[in-house]
Symmetry: C2
Subunit: 344 residues, 2 copies
Amino acid sequence: MNRLQTRKIHVGPLELGGNDTVWIQSMTNTTTKDILKTTKQIQALEAAGCQIVRVAVLDFEDARAIKTIKENITIPLVADIHFDHRLALEAMDAGVDKIRLNPGNIKKRAYVEEVVLKAKAKGIPIRIGVNSGSLPTPGTPTAKQMIEAAASHVSILESLGFYDICLSLKATDMRLMIEANRLAAKTFPYPLHLGVTEAGTAFSGAIKSAMGIGTLLLEGIGNTIRVSLTDNPVLEIRAAKEILKNAGLRDDIPNLISCPTCGRLQYDMIEIAKKIETYLLSVNKHINVAIMGCAVNGPGEARHADIGVAGGKGEALIFKKGKVIKKIDESLVYETLVKMIDDF
Amino acid sequence: MNRLQTRKIHVGPLELGGNDTVWIQSMTNTTTKDILKTTKQIQALEAAGCQIVRVAVLDFEDARAIKTIKENITIPLVADIHFDHRLALEAMDAGVDKIRLNPGNIKKRAYVEEVVLKAKAKGIPIRIGVNSGSLPTPGTPTAKQMIEAAASHVSILESLGFYDICLSLKATDMRLMIEANRLAAKTFPYPLHLGVTEAGTAFSGAIKSAMGIGTLLLEGIGNTIRVSLTDNPVLEIRAAKEILKNAGLRDDIPNLISCPTCGRLQYDMIEIAKKIETYLLSVNKHINVAIMGCAVNGPGEARHADIGVAGGKGEALIFKKGKVIKKIDESLVYETLVKMIDDF
């Protein structure tokens, strides 16, 4: 066990917290009541490797749609609910696996009690989500304020004897997010959901998220992650898988090693690297594949790779663990590598 | 001073180490002797924000090309040299600002002495670059082995009274790279150049680099960084700027905040976010710009943003620090934001 110890909760069949597994999650950006579109997007997310998915529940129609959506997907579904406890009740009746709801934002304690009673009866956990952008306190948000906001929501659930809690402390400022989660890991026994909120577009948002989420994961903090990008949510899953793989938390994701190219380059390496990377998205095994620019340094520098190619002019060297095994025509590089990846 | 203390060296006019500045560098992927192409690429890198640039010097023609290249660029130039000390001598005569060379790989001590004498006379520093892929020791590389390799190169220079040293310990395994650099920061007094080597293509390579370099920067380790991507090196600069900004090490780089979109979205937000992000690449000031999907949560959640837009159906709200200042037609969003960014 290399993660910080937390309580264990259940999200559908998944154990969240209390172990070394870090689940990948995302959120749909469709209107939930558009069942066909939402289901299709969740299926695409599943295919990409998403393990928990969240949908926004803005009204009763959204809540009721969960029933049909659940019939056509295989991963646990989370309902994102604000203010109206009746939507939480409806979503639970529709078979949702987890609720994201801040009890402090529900008007009456009696309403919170209703939600908690039903969640308990059905074994449904609740995520409390604190966002630096919506703290009750004015001015520049601090980690301490975020922890206080989380604690006030947590105490409501605990006072009702409810402990199947997951917590998130998100901020757009990555360093604030790191600080808040370090503090949360010390303060609360509950599993943590990590994310940098409103991180930006695919490239810069992935960088921001990798720094924030990655730093915490490497410290043993975090039990589920959501990379939040302004783009197709499938890219969130790709980013999340990269982060977990590099943190040593997943060993079923291929790793691509490729050099930054230099003046020695004599073949269309960037294109091949991109094509192989795309192919590897559908491969679920631990394999290091190296795409190297030149025969001079390639096989040696990538000698730890399971499979590799080093290009030349019109031809390329194929190597395994640093040993050259054959020379092939440049036009055959892609198909040769794909076959070797499949056979590995 | 929030960075770990190191010796200070000079790379052209830049002070490297011994202060809070972390310089961004990249490397050309052109043939250096192709002066026109190399100069053009360096100029593009400069325009993107590159502060130190490295070129590969494989032969005398490459070394001599440095003179003309230097005349047409403004940032310090580093020559990457392997094995042949005469190329280092030639590059220094051509006016190079720094040499990357591992003295342990030069055949005779007399040759190293020649290089060191000239470097001393000209005030040119030397970077020792240890790469996990080319260690003299067999088997899976360890951080300790990397430190030992660095120490053996360092001791050669120190024995010749040369201390204008910069060190890099790069690995494709990000966790190994982190461990080696933590150890290096404890072991050596010299400034550190950080990078994850052969990190991969733009998206996954940026993620890997952000985790490795970012984790170290947040610990106060690192004085110059190079993000290594299999793509146009200009993307390396974009990634490096994102990393430094998020680590709090640059306050002249704009920050884009944008939500991951949801079912509430009624305008073409992803496109606008991408266009504004591209525009911000040429802006050199500290400004937080928020592109938010909806009027419900947008202005509030992004109330810390200096300027923001929250889209609606056919129209959009423009806000400053969370206060809505006007409602405009959707078609005017881009030009309105650009004007506000310019005026800020």
